[in-house]
């Protein structure tokens, strides 16, 4: 295991210390329990936006705390859902009287821990709503699984709801908007290499030099199928096709196209994927109204990429364009 760390136990704490030192102008970090919060929280008259999940997906979620996006983020241990006391304390810290909206990726652990936190917050008299992301088309959505995983759409959800909350949208409307976004976005990812969770010290799965794993999530879990490694163009087809046909996206749709790196894949390769994804979108008569290319929701140092598409009307595009000022996503401010 080759990592720039001091000890596996201290990875999350030390990362948070670095995050706080680097961005003290925008955020502060609570260390007991762990959460990252806007420096100016609670923001008067604004619904508090709360997210979180296992660490190892940086910049998600801590790097998205700031004006125009999240009010607080709760990091768990690496690839492990955070605990309810974190969301409970963070929720209280960001509640300004207008309630708290939780953005939760659909993983059994995340859902149960956020649910517990919501109960605890409600007992304090705080109105809480939750929005799920479950955009990963690699998972068969049926009664017989834990349901689709929340992956790349989470980044777009946090940006869009962040903008809406910043504009003063009340809790129930935010919840409805979140559900609409949830219903309008789909993702699929693949890996060229596994990643190594620090305290395990060995790769999460094995892949031969000529193999890739298609349909991975973001937790270093193996994917749905293992295949011979092929070209970027073919891989992009393999990701785009199920994304498009699942929603389905239809001729004439405006979309936000998000090409995401899993952590160890350089930007040069993401643009090669973007090129093909844009070509495929055009072939289907889709208009790419906005895009995002980079490593925003990662699996440690895993090499690979995921593609997320969100059908977006003009109102969503306005929210996308609204100013955002976080460590990892910033424009207009």
């Amino acid at each position: 295991m080759k990592k720039l760390i001091n000890s596996p136990e201290n990875v999350v704490r030390e990362e948070l210390e670095g995050l706080q030192l680097a961005h003290a102008d925008r955020l502060r970090v609570s260390f007991d329990p762990f959460y990252v919060v806007r420096r100016d929280a609670p923001v008067k008259g604004k619904v508090g936006l709360l997210s979180g999940g296992g660490s190892g997906h940086e910049p998600l979620h801590g790097g998205f705390v700031g004006p125009g996006m999240l009010d607080a983020a709760c990091p768990g241990h690496v690839f492990t859902s955070p605990t309810p006391d974190q969301m409970f304390e963070a929720g209280k810290a960001i509640h300004s009287g207008t309630g708290v909206l939780q953005i939760v990726k659909n993983y059994t652990g995340d859902v149960m821990n956020f649910d517990l936190a919501a109960e605890m917050l409600r007992e304090e008299g705080i109105a809480v709503e939750s929005v799920l992301t479950d955009d990963d088309v690699a998972v068969e959505d049926s009664l017989y699984t834990a349901g689709r995983r929340g992956v790349g759409l989470t980044v777009l959800m946090e940006k869009l709801l962040g903008a809406a909350a910043q504009k003063g949208m009340p809790l129930d409307q935010l919840k409805a908007l979140g559900d609409k976004i949830r219903a309008s976005g789909r993702s699929m990812g693949m890996a060229l290499t596994p990643c190594t969770v620090p305290h395990l010290g060995k790769p999460s799965f094995e892949l031969a030099e000529n193999e890739m794993e298609v349909g991975i999530g973001i937790h270093g879990e193996p994917g749905r199928k293992r295949m011979p490694l092929t070209s970027a163009d073919q891989i992009t087809e393999m990701l785009m096709e199920p994304v498009i046909s699942d929603l389905p996206f239809r001729k004439g749709d405006q979309v936000i196209l998000f090409v995401n790196g899993m952590g160890g894949t350089p930007l040069i390769e993401l643009y090669i994927v973007y090129r093909k994804a844009a070509e495929i979108a055009a072939r289907h008569g889709l208009t790419i109204s906005r895009n995002l290319v980079g490593s925003y929701i990662t699996s440690l140092e895993m090499a690979g990429a995921s593609i997320t598409m969100l059908r977006a009307d003009d109102a969503l595009l306005d929210l996308w364009d609204a100013p955002v000022n976080t460590p990892a996503l910033r424009w207009g401010a």
């Binding site: 492990t80 605990t83 993983y107 652990g109 821990n113 834990a146 305290h199 999530g217």
Partner: protein, 209 residues
Amino acid sequence: MDHLTPALARSWILSTARLIEQNAQHLSDLDAAIGDGDHGANMSRGFQAVAKKLEGDAKADDLGALFKVTGMTLLSTVGGASGPLYGGFFLDLGKQCASRAALDAKDLADVLDSGLADIQRRGKAQPGDKTMVDALAPAIAAMRAAGDDIVTATRAAADAARNAATATAPLLARKGRASYLGERSIGHEDPGANSVALLLDALASATGA
């Protein structure tokens, strides 16, 4: 020995912590095969915290308080799927035992059954879904079938849990992360079923000691 007293319950929890610690790597290895490889770390972090809490806490001298502090601590330290499930399980045990000085074998089975129901309410898993439920349910059944002697009953439960954990291998996972693997989850034992087997092994050791 025909009751689970607060002293024995405390030794149950502490001995679970020790067993989890010794088997953490194995639990994580099982989880790496069909999950995300953190089950051992999660459980060991949680039960180490519980052990520390109990060692520094003389107040937890009745069953209700003991299980409650165990549940609260697991809830705030384990995380993942197993945190709320094990945490909720012990919180439920705490509620059931609130006003009881000790449990006989039948009480114990009832209390565990209530805890199991809490796990199923929260996680919505059915037997056969390849989760911790698959070890806990047959263990409680075996405990009931074994009769009134708590030593025999808990040993029977531990054996049943161990066998049931092994028997999760051929199942197709339908809950938790392992369900994402579909057919590929077949052939591997469920990590949570294995930690349940340790929990019940510790219970048998505690009552049998």
